[in-house]
Amino acid sequence: MAMKQSPAKRVGVTVAAWLVAFLIFFPILWTFLTSFKSELDAIAMPPKFLFFNWTLENYAEVQERSNYLKYAFNSIVLSVGANFVGLLIAVPAAWAMAFAPGKRTKDLLMWMLSTKMMPAVGVLVPIYLLFRDLGLLDSLWGIGFVLMLLNLPIIIWMLYTYFKEIPVDILEAARMDGASLLNEILYVLTPMAVPGIASTMLLAIILSWNEAFWTLNLATSNAAPLTAFIASYSAPEGFFWAKLSAASTLAIAPILVLGWFSQKQLVRGLTFGAVK
């Protein structure tokens, strides 16, 4: 309630806001700090907040013992690759629905959205068996395909809402000038929609990066991304908190940065345009 406030109240509100934000953020900060401690400092009582022997050995050990880079590579391949393919399929579809809508376009959009509502456990068994028979378990192709399909409706929806904001006149002008459909999409629509496409991709990559149902169930080692890498730390072996923290920091840092860039689009993407 932004009404006129006395200076005292303003200070109070500011302090309260910072306190709340700090508490919400604290577990991440704590993980980050713990990742630089020795295992003994990590479980020290009382906890050591800033004054401990900062060390990088956990990061070295995490890479050495559980081969972080392999999992990180899988995460990158899966989240970028799957969504790039998704984008190639989605752009034409979103173009068609935004600029050449038919009577059924709205129903089609709603139906695509409805595929997102299906709980994963509803199809876990057949997908697992199909993948087993096709030799796709623990393969990047198989898991990438699933991740692509999971995000396809969101990608189409987000692109659709962005394309709707582009004046159709410009596309028609290009058409009058004799541009082919492919050229119209590639050289007229795409450059204008770059911000929308970029934020769509950003959100899609974040969602795939953190997807932890299919990746845990379909991947065991070769194709396992970071979600599974972290899950392997659920069975404790002696002192492991500092290593767990280092592994966690490595797993979330890249996506946290991307996430901060895309927070505005997040609202639009995750509410399917219902809240802008």
Partner: protein
């Protein structure tokens, strides 16, 4: 204007997406339905036979199902109350003209980008461990006994972790809705001398009501399928104390290898999710017309 030519092209361009999503949705679902009518165990793959609704009867009358259903509802309900209630408060606070608003927003939204396996393990070990977790230290400093979170209050612990993951989402969406409240309305309320509470209940709440509904529906869809947080912390236990429906289906399928029972469970989960989905679709659909 869509000419005949473009609408023909449109159909071709939409086709790949439609076909892929159709295959993804209908084929596995049909297979699940089919499997759910079979006696089919991966341990005894020779002995497959039609059993009609027996798997459903067995799944639905299994005491574990009832407790999984209750656990699912408790988990979804508690997280909704905490994240939406807390989200409204956080959004109201973030909407104030305070110093460093952007930095605050980044801090508040951050947990949403943390992968579920990380949040669950960090909370379980670094914060909630009864011996050397941070909460234990706080409790001892205040002269209290540390809480043995995941052993004595397993469901509450899972609720806390999942609420922390979803509070940022609710806050961000509600903040976005709050910011679209126009200045004139704010000023008018101020001129009329409206108190803080009436202002909230008569002007703010109606304005963000739709956003709250959207948050509730979207969160419900995701919360009905919480899996990784349980998988890496409690493994559904102790006993079945934190086994929700997705986890129960996973256990039937990949630990007990009972395809028939797991499929019946999967179909039950689909029906539950669809009840929620219908409401969400209606709201989004209304938005599409505007």
């Amino acid at each position: 204007m869509a000419t005949q030519q473009t609408s023909a092209a449109a159909r071709v361009l939409v086709a790949p997406s439609v076909i892929l999503l159709f295959l993804w949705m209908i084929v596995p679902l049909a297979m699940t339905l089919y499997f759910s009518s079979l006696r089919y165990s991966l341990l005894d793959a020779e002995n497959i036979g039609f059993v009609g609704f027996q798997n459903y009867a067995a799944f639905l009358s299994d005491p574990d199902f009832l407790s999984a259903l209750v656990n699912t509802l408790v988990l979804v309900g508690s997280v909704l109350v905490i994240s939406v209630g807390g989200g409204i408060l956080v959004a109201l606070l973030m909407d104030q003209p305070v110093f460093g608003q952007n930095a605050l927003r980044l801090m508040v939204i951050a947990p949403f980008f943390v992968m579920p396996t990380v949040s669950a393990l960090v909370w379980k070990n670094l914060l909630m461990n009864p011996d050397s977790g941070l909460f234990a230290w706080i409790a001892r400093s205040l002269g209290m006994e540390p809480v043995v979170w995941f052993t004595n209050h397993p469901m509450m612990s899972v609720v806390i972790v999942v609420s922390w993951e979803w509070l940022p989402f609710a806050s961000l969406i509600l903040l976005t809705a709050l910011q679209s409240l126009d200045e004139e309305q704010k000023e008018a309320a101020q001129l009329d001398g409206a108190g803080a509470l009436p202002y909230f209940f008569y002007i703010v709440l109606p304005h963000i009501a739709r956003a709250i509904t959207v948050v509730i529906l979207i969160e419900t869809i995701f919360l009905l399928s919480v899996f990784a947080e349980i998988y890496v912390t409690t493994g559904g236990g102790p006993g079945v104390a934190t086994t929700n429906i997705p986890f129960l289906v996973y256990k039937e399928a990949l630990l007990n290898f009972d395809v028939g029972a797991a499929s019946a469970g999967g179909i039950v989960a689909v029906i539950l999710a669809n009840i929620v989905a219908i409401f969400l679709m209606r709201i989004v659909g209304r938005n599409l017309e505007g």
